[in-house]
């Protein structure tokens, strides 16, 4: 195999050679440098393949024909091979990406890049601290030169700040090395470690200088202003080199010298790293400049990596996998983002809407951001998962909190940024053209992320347990995105059908899961049918829709925590994109994402605490968790953010109302059940009826009741039809939460009945109203009216829907209500119960408002010509109506097996529902859906017939032929009483609906932003104060340590 030394020589030699070329022969010089970097790339690749293939240990490379410690020695192992590969690839692509700026600056600049790459290679390979020092200097100096590329404003001052900072840092480094040599009498790392000297005051101080200098090279918060200025001033291509190249090398140096120091250095690394991670992510929140923001984010990510190095002992055998996945995520995503920002050209975040002109770039941007945050299926997800789990097993909970908090803050700015890109107002001026030099590197890195995701998935313990088939299916959909919508739609539906068919056998015995599987898959199919009405490509819709459904069904399938969390995040990701597709959804999708992220991290935290001290990660261990209080509380709150319980509901109305007509039913009727299922899993873990005593359950009960009341009450006062439905969802989920909290057999029957009903009628209503909105192009109910004449089918659908919603016999809604009364009385939660029933009667108000204001009353002139909703909307509605009818007539078909399952289980054995034939009974009361249906049906028909008989000669009359005291109205506008319909009620109890929660959340939000904005003032821009910060950092850390 080719020795890495030769690649060093090649790089250096060609650097000297390139310096010779004249401007005229520039292109030749360029070709030469490309080849010169391609060679070491090839070498590293060769070694990496070798090490993967064989189990050989690292290989020592000696120079000057003498053994270390007398001569400088290099070492190449798996890690070195991989890191040099990364660095060399970065170098190669940088030359391509920076082709134009390089040409402006001339051959010398090419030489600089070659030397930089060479330096990084040596830093990674070398085992001699002084040698490392020399090449660190080389790398820094080369960078100082490279920042002249694509000259921007203030480059010089930024360069000077960087230089002086690096000079100080290297002075500390050199002094440290000098004394390490004095006390250790060697410069070779391995030799030093082998001696394991007794730690004297002098030696520890020497090592302190060494370590702190290397740490400072990694720009720890807050001693990093110089680096931030450089990030801002330099060409993004150079920023990529700093963030991806030098940081990588310095990180590895840290890892190499770690054994030299005493044990406490691991803790120092952890604290330094985590403080960096948290600090720079907080300060990033109020950053408006893209490049500088990337700087903040880089520093944060690198901080996390430093901490991971510090954790290396705790992580043990998982260290490589974790470090790999986190490192590769940072490397690929951050470099890719820098390159993207180079293409965007303008610095302010809002300008990134320009990405919309190149959809695939937008996709890539999304991939990068989600990789940074750590969403599946990207590598960082697996890294973070394993990291947190391992830390939990060490009871390092406060560390976990810091990491998750940092990630959350990171999410705050990254998703705002994504929002700008997807939905921000189009920038007017002409778009930059996308040449291959830009497209190639970015695209390549995006692809590499996918690959890396697969690798880290396979590498991580339990990684293989994740079912990747859906993911591959989704990827395929991305590839097929060029096809017309109806084909992709068919493929997606087929996918769901087939998957359901394959899934059925393993769920057929577990009715509880089966019900939700039906909701998720069946609902998915139905709502996708509506999608046929969309013409054109509908680019980027189906992959994410399928992602959401894959996530949901994954929840049902999951039998270990990793699978569950994977599915959960997948669902969040897909639904976020679906929601943000709506017209005015930027803010709502942002809120949705932040709440989901926060919730997900709480769930994550809970799971981690559950794994602590237990073997394996199967869902079972939730029952035997060592910290029941924390685990359950955290997870419960996490799930409540998804079910939009009061307090976490503010994202829902906008998100559901502004979404596309056929997306609203997905995210309302179906997505919310994800949270419900999560709660079910959690409550099952809490262990059935004996959990009734659990105060958490009691609190959740009250929360559910109040949510139901407030949700419904707010819905009553909505003028926007979809918002009304959205708030009603909040209320209905409140019922479900309340019923689950009973932790009793009947209670759960109620909850499941409610979930199923809510799925049926809410999907139905959203489809129907969506169809109407599609036609009349407005959400405002008071602008509609009298549409029954144009849209009879939609009217019937809504009628059925609201009868079910209001729980009026004979339809299945009543089943829920009846079970409810029994459960409440059995449980003795009378007052919560009373509140919920009050909520139920209030629901009746908005039901009426919905159907009356839209379909009845006075038709408006502008809508006289509208047609019935598209047939693709009607079909699923009919299917759903049939579903409701069947469930109403024969509730036993579903409730019987569920009941048997519950009472059969160890969880809820006592007083179940008794069935004789179709009549259900408890020890309180009885109810026979079938007979009620029969009686009412017959009676209704008889009376109808009778009326028909009596008034057979009834004749149709005109719209305005109404008894109108004195005069006749002439405009429907004044005659259609629907705006602010329940004003008296509002005067009476409207104060309950004041947006207090929203206000308090806003207050939290603004507080955080103000803090970040004032905190980042420490980066005063004065090079000297940066130096003071560095000095202070050194001194303070020293005083803390000694």
């Amino acid at each position: 195999m080719v020795s890495p030394i030769s690649s060093i020589a090649v790089l250096l030699g060609s650097a000297f050679l390139v310096g010779l070329f004249k401007k005229t022969s520039y292109s030749f010089a360029q070709m030469l440098s490309l080849l010169a970097i391609a060679f070491p790339l090839f070498v590293s690749a060769q070694w990496l393949i070798h090490f993967i293939g064989t189990s050989d240990g690292a290989v020592m490379l000696y120079t000057a024909g003498a053994k270390p410690p007398f001569s400088v020695s290099l070492q190449i192992g798996m890690a070195e091979a991989f890191l040099t590969l990364a660095v060399n690839l970065l170098g190669l692509l940088s030359i391509i990406y920076l082709m134009k700026p390089f040409k402006e600056l001339g051959v010398k600049a090419l030489a600089l890049l070659l030397i930089l790459v060479m330096g990084l290679n040596v830093i990674i390979l070398s085992r001699d601290i002084f040698n490392i020092f020399v090449f660190l200097e080389i790398a820094s100096i080369a960078l100082v030169g490279l920042i002249l590329l694509g000259k921007r404003k203030h480059t010089y001052s930024a360069g000077f700040k960087y230089l002086i900072a690096v000079a100080i840092i290297s002075s500390f480094l050199l002094v440290g090395i000098a004394f390490v040599y004095y006390f250790g009498s060697t410069l070779n790392i391995d030799d030093f470690v082998a001696q394991n000297l007794i730690v004297t005051k002098g030696l520890s101080t020497a090592l302190f200088l060494l370590f702190i200098a290397v740490l400072l090279e990694l720009k720890p918060f807050p001693a990093n202003g110089w680096a931030l200025d450089l990030y801002e001033a330099a060409h993004p291509g150079v920023g990529a080199l700093i963030s991806g190249g030098t940081a990588t090398a310095s990180l590895y140096v840290l890892y190499k010298i770690l054994p030299m120091g005493a044990d406490y250095w691991s803790d120092v690394l952890i604290w330094v790293g985590l403080i960096s991670f948290l600090g720079s992510n907080i300060l990033g929140i109020s950053q408006k400049n893209a490049n500088r923001l990337l700087g903040y984010s880089s520093i944060g990510q690198i901080g996390l990596l430093v901490a991971v190095i510090g954790f290396s002992d705790q992580l043990g055998s998982h260290f490589e996998a974790i470090f790999f996945s986190l490192f590769i995520s940072h490397f690929l995503a951050k470099v890719g983002l820098f390159w993207l920002s180079g293409w965007v050209g303008k610095t302010e975040l809002t300008a990134w809407s320009i990405l919309r002109t190149k959809p695939w770039l937008l996709l890539v941007f999304g991939i990068f951001l989600f990789t940074l945050i750590g969403f599946p299926p990207f590598p960082s997800f697996f890294g973070k998962w394993q990291l947190i789990v391992d830390l939990a097993s060490e009871h390092g909970f406060n560390w976990i909190v810091i990491i998750l908090a940092g990630s959350l803050f990171e999410g705050i700015y990254l998703f705002r940024w994504l929002g700008y890109a997807i939905k921000g107002e189009k920038s007017t001026e002409n778009k930059p053209l996308l040449d291959w030099q830009t497209a190639l590197p970015i695209g390549l890195f995006a692809l590499l992320i996918i690959g890396a995701g697969y690798v880290s998935n396979q590498w991580m313990p339990n990684g293989q347990s994740i079912n990747l088939i859906p993911v591959f299916f989704i990827l395929a959909l991305f590839v097929l995105d060029f096809l017309p919508a109806w084909i992709k739609n068919t493929i997606s539906i087929a996918g769901l059908v087939v998957y359901g068919y394959l899934l059925y056998p393993e769920l057929s015995d577990d009715t509880l899961r089966l019900v939700f599987a039906v909701i998720f898959l069946g609902g998915g199919i139905l709502t996708l049918i509506a999608g046929y009405s969309v013409k054109g490509k509908r680019a980027g819709f189906f992959p994410f829709a399928l992602m959401m459904f894959a996530g949901l069904i994954g929840l049902v399938e999951a039998d270990n925590l990793l699978q569950f969390f994977f599915a959960w995040e997948l669902m969040t990701l897909g639904s976020y994109v679906l929601i943000i597709r709506g017209k005015r959804s930027m803010l709502h999708a942002y809120n949705y994402m932040l709440f989901s992220l926060g919730g997900a991290y709480l769930i994550f935290m809970g799971m981690a605490m559950a794994t602590a001290g237990q073997s394996g990660i199967s869902l079972e261990i939730l029952r035997t968790t060592a910290f029941p209080g924390w685990t359950y509380a955290l997870m419960a709150i996490g799930f409540l953010t998804k079910t939009a319980a009061l307090g976490f509901h503010i994202w829902l109305p906008g998100a559901h109302a502004e979404a596309e007509s056929d997306v609203s039913p997905m995210v309302s009727g179906i997505l919310l059940k994800g949270g419900v299922f999560g709660l079910i899993v959690l409550f099952l873990a809490m262990g059935g009826e004996q959990a009734q005593a659990n105060p958490l359950v009691y609190v959740l009960g009250w929360l559910g009741a109040i949510t139901a009341l407030i949700g419904n009450l707010i819905a009553v006062f909505q003028e926007d039809a979809k918002k009304l439905l959205a708030y009603s969802s909040i209320g209905n989920l409140g019922y479900v939460l309340f019923a689950l909290a009973f932790m009793s057999n009947i209670g759960w029957m109620t909850a499941i009945t409610y979930s199923l009903n809510h799925f049926l009628f809410k999907t139905l209503l959203f489809l129907a109203i969506g169809g109407v909105v599609l036609r009349v192009k407005t959400h405002n109910m008071h602008e509609m009216g009298g549409l029954i004449k144009q849209m009879p089918l939609s009217f019937i659908a809504v009628l059925i829907g609201i009868i079910t919603l209001a729980g009026i016999p004979p339809l299945s809604g009543y089943a829920g209500k009846w079970l409810f009364y029994n459960a409440v009385i059995a449980q003795g939660w009378y007052f919560q119960g009373a509140i919920v029933f009050f909520a139920g009667t209030i629901a009746f108000l908005y039901c009426f408002k919905l159907i009356y204001a839209v379909f009845l009353g006075q038709p408006k002139d502008k809508f006289r010509q509208v047609k019935e909703a598209p047939v693709w909307y009607i079909i699923p509605q009919i299917i759903l109506i049939i579903g409701i009818m069947v469930f109403s007539a024969r509730p036993d078909l579903i409730l019987k097996p569920v009941g048997e399952l519950l009472s059969g289980s160890a969880y809820f054995p006592t007083d179940p529902l008794n069935w004789e034939s179709v009549t259900a009974s408890t020890n309180l009361g009885y109810w026979s859906g079938y007979k009620i249906m029969l009686v009412i049906g017959v009676m209704f028909m008889v009376l109808l017939g009778w009326l028909l008989l009596m008034s057979r000669k009834a004749q149709k009359i005109k719209q305005f032929d109404i008894v109108y005291a004195g005069e006749t109205p002439f405009t429907p506008g004044t005659t259609h009483f629907s705006h602010n319909m329940f004003a008296p009620l509002y005067r009476a109890i409207g104060f309950l609906t004041l947006p207090m929660i929203t206000q308090s959340w806003n207050r939290v939000n603004s507080t955080v932003h103000d803090f970040a904005d004032s905190a980042r003032k420490i980066y005063s821009g004065n090079g000297q104060s940066y130096l003071v910060q560095i000095l202070a950092y050194v001194v303070i850390v020293y005083l803390i340590l000694f």
Partner: protein, 234 residues
Amino acid sequence: MIRNSFLILLLAGLGWILFQEFDSFKGSDQLNPVAEYYATQGPQEVGAANLVTSVVVTYRGLDTLGEVTILFLTAAIVGLLFKRESNSETEDIYGTSEILLTAGKILVPMLILVGVYIFINGHLTPGGGFQGGAVLASAFVLAALTFSGTTVKHRVLEIVESFSGISFVLLGILGVVLAGGFLDNKIFSLGTFGHLFSAGAIPIIYSLVGLKVGSELSNIVLVMKSSEKGGDHD
């Protein structure tokens, strides 16, 4: 005021840190193993009378390569920084004093001679490539300052430095091919200890380094000189 007192505190802290080192520094009475190896094995292995040189050029040759690279980088970057000015021909606006002129006439050739001597004998006597190169550079600079007409062509300097740099690397690779490893000097016979033609590749390497350093240093200075001339009118 507050800032200053804060600085005082910081410096006190820094002083405290360094004092730890000073406090635990006791000097040393005999060589540590590594140094002893250099002293005992050095002459046989490398064959250079000047042990420092043997360490610099051979044992820690990689560092030296790094140094050379750093100088190269510096020269290149300074060149980039003053691109526009550097090609503006340096016309002398100060004029040269009689003394300088005379001194220059005498000194420049001698300086060149001394410089070359220093780096050629780098393996025997104190000094070496860097020192010699520095002297050489001083000669060029002096010349440039003195005889306003005769400016050294950047092109020439560039070629010299690139050429010497590449040859340095090539010699290093030859070490891998012919001898014990990268930058091993035993590619040529070690010769008789203490003579000019001894210590294998060291004299050649040092000469190359000398040339390189000389050209680079003079390059840097000349570029800056010309730039601050050109700088006045922009």
